[in-house]
């Protein structure tokens, strides 16, 4: 008799905040998932830097809970641990339908996620990722490779965290033409600019506050120099507007140069300064601090994100939500898994 669970098999690569949240969400929503969607994904392997935990029949909810609590190093697990086993080995040798890639972002060369994703494609596995690095550097190439290998590639957690910005544009606005996109796509910088404007503190003070609250990293370059926003703009440009751009095509300015004086002057005009990522009508991607009216629906404060799609027929549509967070991002992973399952089902039954 079959002793395991029945359901789509998942390899989880990366066991940080997002990775742990993915296992938590999958374990926690068990009854609803099965009842409402008939969807019962099981995690057959988890890989972290130290090695892997593998159970081809699916790791149980209790086991996932234990792994989450014990944390690093996971491969010491007495039952299913494989110390030193690399992600590439696991992707190659463990049977699964989907690889969920949630390792840390690297915008220099996209590694190790780039290799994980391409290996998954080549071995016929679908991929869900929240990792912006490889996408920002090579999204056109990755999309082509996925199509060539006949697998699905989904990454809705990369933009807007749990807020379904990519799906909204792609699916809810289907048939309309998206002419331009404008957004506040990074919570850290938005928090800093909001603090500066409302509490009249300098950039440095606002940054150290953000770091104290855990909104900003010790090395804040990714956020304050606009790289994170640029990555998201690249993803939006490719996925929503079909523009084959990569990170190096983005004209990018960070927020280090924004002064209190500039904020004051903007306020006199009823405006404020935000770090705006945009793709204009010609498809040119830019990231720079821009003055926008305080009354604009885009003008959100704190760590919130917002994006406005300018469409030909439906006018302007703005979506607001939390742009980051482990559970929020993990919810995007779950959405992507459901979407892949739906597509697979219609393919198999057609």
């Amino acid at each position: 008799m079959w002793q395991g669970e029945v359901g789509m098999r998942i390899i989880l690569i990366g066991f940080g905040v997002v990775g742990k949240s993915v296992t938590a969400i999958i374990a926690r929503r068990y009854s609803e998932r099965v009842k409402d969607y008939g969807f019962n994904p099981k995690i057959v392997a988890i890989v972290d830097v130290d090695g892997a935990v593998i159970n081809p029949r699916g790791l149980s909810a209790e086991k996932l809970e234990t792994l989450r609590q014990k944390g690093f190093p996971i491969s010491k697990d007495p039952e299913f641990g494989h110390p030193g086993m690399s992600a590439l080995d696991v992707i190659e040798s463990v049977e699964a339908e989907v690889v969920v890639e949630v390792t840390p972002v690297n915008i220099k060369n996209g590694e190790p996620a780039m290799s994980h994703i391409t290996k998954a494609f080549k071995t016929g596995k679908h991929v869900v990722t929240t990792n912006k690095g490889p996408l920002a550097l090579a999204l056109p190439a990755l999309m082509e490779l996925a199509e060539y290998n006949n697998v699905y590639f989904r990454f809705s957690g990369t933009v807007g965290g749990g807020t379904p910005m990519l799906e909204f544009a792609k699916r809810c606005l289907a048939g309309d033409k998206i002419l331009a996109i404008k957004g506040i796509l990074n919570g850290t910088t938005n928090y800093i600019l909001t603090e500066m404007a409302q509490k009249r503190v300098t950039f440095q003070e606002a940054l150290s506050n953000a770091q104290k609250l855990g909104y900003a990293e010790t090395d804040p370059t990714m956020d304050v120099e606009g790289f994170d926003t640029a990555c998201k703009i690249v993803i939006l440009a490719n996925w929503v507007m079909n523009r084959k751009v990569t990170l190096r095509d983005v004209d990018r300015t960070g927020i280090r140069g924004v002064t209190l004086q500039e904020l004051d002057e903007a306020a006199k005009r009823g405006n404020t300064i935000k770090l705006i990522g945009a793709i204009d009508g010609e498809g040119k991607p830019t990231v720079k601090p821009m003055e926008i009216p305080k009354t604009s629906p885009l003008c959100v404060s704190g760590v919130l994100n917002a994006v406005t799609f300018h469409t030909e027929f439906a006018g302007e549509q703005t979506l607001v939500g939390k742009g980051a967070g482990g559970v929020e991002t993990a919810s995007a992973v779950l959405r992507d898994l459901l979407e892949i399952r739906r597509r697979l089902a219609s393919k198999m039954l057609s």
Partner: protein, 464 residues
């Protein structure tokens, strides 16, 4: 810049090629060089791959020895510096050793697969490229050589006729070659060969080395592609038929693709595809006459001149099949059956014509396939009520008059046919696509050259 087989056929030629590259480099251009195999080598490899499966080891060694000798001799003449020459010779010996192992493998196993054939075919370019690399170093040009695979060209696994995954390729090529170009290093890349996503060697088939050049130029957003060959450019017609034939200074991508299809000595249409889409101009130039500006293929060139007919091509070795049957008139799907039978027999139809009223369809195919085609059509279609008669003529040829400005210009066909009528040439079959890039027609083979001359004269192509 791409250099064809004749351009690198001998050591002297390779030296000439290197000087051309060095001149451009010294003028400050960023150059990527794509190299074909030495003239004739790819065909030899193709033959050897087939022969190896039923040959002795000794025969294989004879072949590889001869190949080594030819390339070493070329190195001798192309490279002056002793140290560089020694290095290149070592690479050649090592590469031929690898080839020998592959051929012996085929010899032992007694089988050649599409995969192993592509591997064998890749050696022509792998041997020619180090020669050009060495000759460039000889001229103090900083350079580095790559196989197409190392340069980052990723294709599907359709061995023998692989197609690039263009976005993946762009990503890898930019990553690998752009840093070199920034450092003023000239990358020298093997033409014709690439690799699958798993790194297995593929070849680009008929598009060949030109295809490599156009793929790289699109990936790197080049300003122009220069195809260096042994003629001045694309001509109004074959100079063997009309000695006064002229080189065409400018063509559109559409016209160039037409001419390539009709066998003008030019680029294969699949090689033109990436640059046509990216609107990167292509120049065809003569290695042995670099002063000549050659032919420029670029967007919008069709309107640059007023000439309606720009070139005439004669296609020999074809045959015409006529299929008759009163029941074909008004019967949906009847033509489809004819085409289907030929398609299933792997026979390409070059030209087709069927009148509104006539119970008759005429086809043009390669003459060598005529026997196979007739037998397939007879077996599948005769005696079933629809087709009553199948006849063939194997003493015909196709003539194609090309030019983008034919579109919307009335009277072109009438001028062509009047010119032929004056010479007493009877036309057997006519076809014109609605894109109006060319008018093709069939005449008896004995009238072919006279027909080309008549059209060349009528449209005054000799004074273009």
């Amino acid at each position: 810049m791409k250099f064809g087989g004749t351009s690198v056929a001998t050591g002297e030629n390779i030296h000439r090629v290197a000087s051309i590259v060095a001149d451009s480099f010294k003028e400050g251009y960023s150059v990527v060089v794509v190299v074909s195999a030495l003239a004739g080598v790819t065909n030899q490899l193709m033959e050897e791959a087939e022969q190896a499966k039923r040959q002795s080891e000794k025969k294989v060694q004879e072949f590889t020895n001869q190949l080594t000798a030819r390339h070493l001799e070329a190195a001798e003449k192309a490279i002056e510096d002793g140290g560089i020459r020694k290095e290149v010779k070592q690479i050649i010996r090592k590469t031929v050793d690898e080839l020998e192992k592959v051929l012996l493998g085929i010899c032992y196993v007694g089988e050649v697969t599409p995969k192993s054939r592509d591997y064998v075919l890749s050696f022509g370019e792998r041997l020619s490229t180090p020669l050009v690399w060495g000759a460039l170093r000889d001229l103090k040009v900083p350079t580095q050589y790559f196989t197409g695979k190392e340069a980052g060209i990723v294709t599907d696994d359709n061995f023998g006729e692989a197609r690039p995954l263009m976005n993946v390729t762009t990503h890898h090529v930019r990553e690998r070659l752009e840093p070199l170009l920034e450092k003023k290093i000239v990358p020298v890349v093997t033409g014709y060969i690439a690799a699958t996503q798993d790194g297995i060697v593929t070849t680009l088939g008929r598009g060949g080395s030109d295809y490599t050049a156009t793929i790289l130029s699109v990936a790197l957003s080049a300003d122009e592609v220069w195809i260096w060959t042994d003629v001045n450019g694309i001509m109004t017609t074959d100079p063997k038929i009309v000695p006064l034939a002229k080189t065409l200074p400018r063509l559109s991508f559409g016209e160039a693709a037409e001419m390539a299809i009709f066998g003008a000595k030019a680029m294969h249409p699949s090689a033109l595809e990436p640059v046509a889409e990216a609107r990167i101009p292509v120049r065809i130039r003569n290695v042995f006459n670099p002063e000549n500006p050659g032919t420029l293929i670029a967007n919008g060139q069709e309107t640059a001149s007023k000439d309606v007919v720009k070139a005439v091509a004669l296609i020999r070795d074809v045959a015409m099949i006529n299929i008759k049957g009163a029941a074909m008139v008004g019967a949906p799907g009847s033509y489809a059956k004819v085409l289907d039978v030929l398609g299933k027999s792997n026979i390409n139809i070059m030209m087709i014509s069927a009148a509104v009223s006539e119970a008759n369809v005429s086809l043009i195919i390669r003459r060598s396939l005529l026997g196979r085609a007739l037998s397939a059509l007879e077996i599948a279609l005769l005696g079933r009520g629809m087709v009553s008669e199948i006849t063939a003529e194997d003493d015909v040829c196709v003539i194609a008059a090309m030019g983008a400005n034919m579109k919307g210009t009335p009277g072109v066909a009438s001028r062509i046919f009047t010119a032929l009528a004056k010479k007493g040439i009877n036309i057997r079959m006519i076809a014109q696509g609605s894109s109006e890039l060319n008018i093709s027609f069939v005449v008896k083979e004995k009238d072919g050259e006279a027909a080309v001359r008549a059209i060349h004269e009528e449209f005054k192509l000799e004074s273009m």
